[in-house]
Symmetry: C3
Subunit: 158 residues, 3 copies
């Protein structure tokens, strides 16, 4: 089963790919392809261009909300891959995530938050292609106060 | 127009490439080439070996000072590329930046700070080669209290 | 002298390679190989599955303890390389470290902490292969309150 077929089976409809806001457009890219890799910029928990999860996990937001924020971010990573490569199936493997959580002081369950994204990738791509190296760490502040930000490296199929 | 010619047109003179201080020399590298990529170590807002912007953006330093710090850091990234590759023109594309801002609590405009570096790269290399994937996030502390630290991945021309 | 021979000369016995705890197993990987690179997940200062250094460097822990934590983390990175590639000698070069220190407010000597890992890599691999690009920065929180977390990119020999 291809990742695109698996999405249908899971009943997941991908959102439109993220676009850059006016204040940063022209300055950087949602993603850059280089030497068989797709580098995806730090992405956040947006839906229809609106930031859905804002605030610090551990005070403003619960662990469960953080997990949902990471899953929502994962949907945008998938949308970016499809937009950049034409099809999810051209992603040979998810190589690496840097998962950054906007943490309240003392909140150390950052891996359980980023699992929201990792679980999605494994559901859609299976373990062989979807599982990835990662770090899941607590940042002092993230852009716009978003709850999580995740950047990714994907191996492009030949 | 090559990036080197563009620098002249912009009236920008690159600083000398950064060097490692005695306390870390021999331990790591300013940059490492591997499989057609140049990985550049986290660089900061130094001029003539002096740290120019120290402190937290949003309290000790304004957003505008943070932007300048990121631009100054970008000049050192350019100097490193020229030093490592012999010419800026051997940098086929800027692939990825991790932009880290030394933030005061509550300062979330980290993308606007890192734009100082991104803008410089696009000015010198043009959008096709200069624009890059990136994250721009807020760190709790940076070495020596520097205002920003930026690491980069560059694609080396064949 | 190979890195494996050098380990013996240094009297270093590598620990078993790290394994994922039940809460994250299946979700991600200790390491992913892709296009001649080995990407290693963020690793911490564990020994025999126990977290040895917990807390914030600069308050709960001294700089010296932070250095030891980074060295211990480096031993796990080496164990991961041997486990993944069969032999340390298949690591052609250490390309890049992202060294993250769990910092107390105001602690900015993060490079001196991460030197614990960098020194180990250079001791075992020599400067040509062991020295690497890196960043060494202060994070707000790390998983389980670990003192340091380090992720790595290694070039795999052809």
């Amino acid at each position: 089963m291809t990742p695109d077929e698996r999405l249908i089976e899971l009943g997941i409809e991908l959102p439109p790919p993220p676009t850059l806001s006016a204040s940063v457009a022209g300055r950087f890219l949602i993603a850059r392809q280089s030497r068989g890799f797709l580098y995806i910029s730090g992405s956040g928990p947006f839906r229809d261009g609106e930031l859905v999860y804002q605030g610090k996990v551990g005070s403003d937001l619960t662990l469960e909300q953080g997990y949902d924020a990471a899953r929502l971010t994962g949907l945008l990573l998938l949308a970016t891959v499809r937009d950049q490569l034409g099809s999810l199936d051209r992603a040979a493997a998810w190589v690496k995530l840097l998962g950054m959580v906007n943490v309240a002081p003392g909140f150390t369950q950052t891996p359980a938050v980023i699992n929201g994204c990792s679980d999605l990738l494994v559901e859609v791509f299976g373990h062989d292609r979807g599982a990835h190296a990662r770090s899941a760490v607590g940042l002092a502040e993230l852009p716009l106060g978003m709850a999580v930000e995740i950047e990714a490296i994907v191996e492009i199929a030949d």
